[in-house]
Symmetry: C2
Subunit: 160 residues, 2 copies
DNA sequence: ATCCTACTCTATAAATCTAGTCAACTTTGT
DNA sequence: ACAAAGTTGACTAGATTTATAGAGTAGGAT
């Protein structure tokens, strides 16, 4: 499960991808239009700044802006910066692999092997989607058809 | 990120899938051979029992056993029972959908739309793998080649 | 100088993870 | 029938992470 931190962070990044290049957005505005607790968003944007995803400017006319064009920012990397590895389990991570203390024989741990598959599937989606593409998803109207894996899935009606 | 509860639960289920049908396994044994804190495992197996995945028997010769053959138990459902929905975010869940309080227009929320894809990808892996298949993964020796999505991925070496 | 804005520090409430203690039940030996 | 031992089950408690709020500091624009 994604934490709220990552969720809010992604929303903020989408918001920033929507401002004209060279202009900034205020934390207060981002927070208000996305229903995010402002102080929490402060901290989140701070982390994203430290991770090099955004730049900040203080004082009047200040605010946040993306550090690179949204087409060059991968959704997966934003999530990694805020929530850590994509893998459901540390020992299945490729970027931040860490042996898990239980598990004597890693190469035969069934849980890890399944979670490696899951990690691969998640990364396939998140790492191949840029911030720009993600923002694009939200711009088409209702009844969107969303391509998922091999098949086509209809949105917004069949989810209860 | 999967919680330890789900991770331990899966390990326990794999263990149970390994005992001869009709026989039981002791919590203490499962805990010892999988390096799981016994008391925690007690609680986890309790939940799995309430969810109908396992049966328990008290007293001498007691213990736990699977409620159904491992080929009929989906890995995804075990995870759901312990950690809740597979979707990284509640509003992207199909089984336990719940509107998220932030987000005025769900059908256009870019974060949700991306996470729907991720959910689909995760479910594709976890719901199409039975407990029996998962157990099978851990039984081949080293240097296993694991089919993932479209491509082939080599294990155990390239993960630092 | 003063306003505006990002930034820092501290604190609180909830959830997760783990351990300890004791109660309830089931089989077995006498 | 009764006691004893083996086992799950329930209840409490502490440590750690997550999510949020408040008050105040620092830096830049006019």
């Amino acid at each position: 499960m994604l934490t709220k931190k990552a969720k809010y962070g992604l929303k903020a990044m989408v918001h920033l991808a929507g401002v004209r290049p060279g202009e900034t957005a205020l934390v207060a505005d981002i927070a208000a239009s996305n229903q995010i607790p402002k102080k929490f968003l402060d901290a989140i944007l701070g982390e994203l700044r430290n991770a090099g995803f955004v730049h900040s400017k203080k004082g009047k006319g200040g605010g946040y802006m993306l550090a690179r064009p949204p087409s060059e920012i991968g959704v997966g990397n934003i999530v990694r910066a805020l929530d850590g590895p994509l893998a459901p389990i540390q020992c299945a991570s490729k970027t931040v692999y860490r042996r898990c203390d239980d598990c004597t024989d890693e190469t035969r741990c069934a849980v890890r092997l399944v979670m490696l598959r899951a990690r691969e599937a998640i990364a396939e989606v998140l790492d191949k989607t840029s911030l720009e593409q993600m923002r694009g998803l939200g711009e088409s109207g209702d009844g969107v058809r969303l391509l998922v894996g091999g098949g086509v899935v209809r949105q917004a009606m069949d989810m209860a």
